[in-house]
Symmetry: C2
Subunit: 380 residues, 2 copies
């Protein structure tokens, strides 16, 4: 079995690591260089996209912001899983919102806005505070504005208008304006669906973001009620897309209710804990799904947390002396804010996990891991 | 960190897979072709042994039958862990037996024999039945004879004498004649020792061999008394060798007592279950030890069994539908009897593990997995 991954970053790398034992050969298409590479040794190249498509039995993607031209060429080969429509939906908040409405899944009240008239109309119908998010290429906190007081409206519109007009993509930029959800917590769910329509979802993950980027995830298997809601939303969304592979859903938790924030049509940072905490990790399950192998169990094996390593290429080796601490470096060169690796920490129950997590965090420099200590300290 | 592994088979491959997330770069020296290769893509080469030695921060080995010339060149670089003496000891039963005596570790009563006079003397002092094992290059049941009745002595000596005289190695072949141990079970232990002398040992593994080759291993964390004996033997042997890395010890269990059968100065087939069943797998712990990183916990996370895949390159995909079944292929071309991969099966306790194991085995063709069904059926 041979799989081409669109994108040659850490997600392709971890898919390749999970694939070797299954005898699935993985190559990755680097959209920047237009070269197919070995995701485990990116200096080894295998030609252009056509060569990659010819090589593959299946094609999949590690990110959603891929040109439609590339997606369409892959779709034409009949090998692309999930479908280009699924990937495009993940890359465009307008399509995403339509999907959620169509699948009857709760999400924040919103308007799609591209003109001043639409903006003014949205302000009339939505309750402050609002959050404006770019329709295209907006993730990890980029292309977002918060409108808390009506006096900010003109200034924000000026910025948004420039942002929209500067965009040159074929799909044309817009913003989705949402009513801010007074959420108690951000949680997410990763799940997997195969070509026969079978779905399996992983335990819900509690997430903490620092400066708009995920910094800590925690899966302990609690929250049976929320788990059932999230699984239902997963099934509705995955079925609506006739999805194949791993799909992630981010939710706002408001009381005992979940609203979908956004979806990601791929393996997801908030599912990295599955490498040590779940029966089958998200990377293996994604490759099983796109390779038509039976899905693996998504059961929790042990409560596990993940800490992102952002913008630094070293952590104290002493954290490896703590039981159940696993380091995952991505082999990338250092750049401010860049996702460089992650640390998984497990325990036999939530109490042991939190003890170990606190130990690990106490050894990590605050400078490189802002807010992480504070967040972990308040976990119960 | 950069590590050269002597040997480019599945053990080097699994070391490389465990090393990627630690940012340890692994290359493998293929002794057959005298080429350094990428163990994850063996067609990618990096020159000869000198190039490999120059590349590495540390050098280690995946097998013990390496020419002393190669070992000595690596040792001279100051980078070889474990030491050449440790590796040579694992490759020569004479040195192994001296080590066990010196470390005061119980093993089978034996004589070393290279001549007819020594053979006759051994027969006088040892009690039948006997097992004769080649001193050099004898593993997986090759180079062994069983002497059950004295009438077989002349015929066996003729074979052994020819075997000894045909050997052209610098160390000169011999046989070790042991009194057969009326063992109840074969068990083994994998453990790890770092440069500071810290040791950690994994839970004992119950093993079943088919035609002299390991076919099934099972680690459930039972047998506290045997575990303590085995850990003590591990510490004695590892300390006597000033060992660095993972070391495996095979034992005969006789009642509540353990006798060492043999040692292997490397990661070991009977430790493959640690990939799914232990807090840190043997491959990662070996790389941690030779790279001077803190050792990881060797605690059992969940009872796990391993089934070897020998001489076949396919198993029914349906086994992947059973929870906690993980496939590990080695990416090798098929050859009769060759170790092609292994299947790990886990359960939350021994009962669940045995249920799943029975399910898996019922789907495996008897032809490709002889004795495995019978062995698994009688496990309690």
């Amino acid at each position: 079995m041979k799989v081409l991954v669109l994108g040659a970053g850490q997600l392709a790398r971890m898919m390749a690591l999970a694939s070797k034992p299954l005898n699935i050969e993985v190559r990755a298409y680097d959209v920047g260089s237009d070269q197919v590479v070995d995701p485990l040794s990116p200096s080894v190249t295998f030609g252009d996209l056509d060569a990659g498509i010819a090589f593959a039995d299946s094609i999949t993607a590690e990110f959603e912001h891929i040109s439609h031209e590339v997606l369409d060429r892959c779709e034409d080969s009949g090998k692309l899983f999930p479908s280009s429509q699924s990937i495009k939906t993940g890359g465009d908040r307008r399509l995403e919102k339509s999907l959620l409405e169509q699948a009857n899944v709760k999400n924040a009240t919103h308007h799609v806005v591209a003109t001043k008239a639409e903006f003014d109309n949205a302000l009339k119908h939505l309750k402050l505070p609002l959050i404006l998010k770019s329709a295209l290429a907006g993730y990890d906190g980029k292309g977002q504005w918060r409108l808390k007081d009506i006096s900010q409206a003109d200034a924000i519109w000026k910025e948004v208008d420039t942002f929209i007009k500067e965009d040159t993509s074929a799909q044309q930029q817009a913003v989705v304006i949402e009513q801010m959800v007074p959420f108690d917590r951000e949680v997410s769910m990763v799940g997997v669906r195969d070509k026969n329509g079978e779905t399996k979802s992983y335990p819900l993950t509690e997430n903490h973001h620092t400066n708009g980027v995920l910094s800590v995830s925690l899966a302990t298997g609690a929250h049976a009620n929320l788990q059932a809601q999230a699984s239902e939303a997963f099934d509705k969304i995955a079925n609506a897309l006739d999805y194949v592979g791993v799909l992630a859903i981010e939710f706002f938790q408001v009381g005992e209710s979940l609203l979908v924030n956004e979806i990601a049509p791929r393996v997801h940072n908030s599912g990295h804990w599955t490498q040590q905490g779940a029966d089958t990790c998200q990377f293996e399950n994604h490759m099983r799904a796109v390779s038509q192998l039976p899905l693996g169990s998504t059961a929790l094996v042990r409560p596990t947390a993940m800490i992102n390593v952002l913008g630094t290429d070293s952590v104290p080796n002493s954290i490896l002396s703590i039981p159940s601490v696993t380091m995952h470096w991505y082999g990338k060169s250092k750049r401010a804010g860049r996702k460089m690796g992650h640390i998984n920490v497990s325990g036999s129950d939530r109490v042991e996990l939190l003890q170990r997590l606190q130990q690990v965090v106490s050894l990590l420099p605050e400078n490189d891991f802002p807010e992480v200590n504070d967040y972990v300290s308040q976990l119960k």
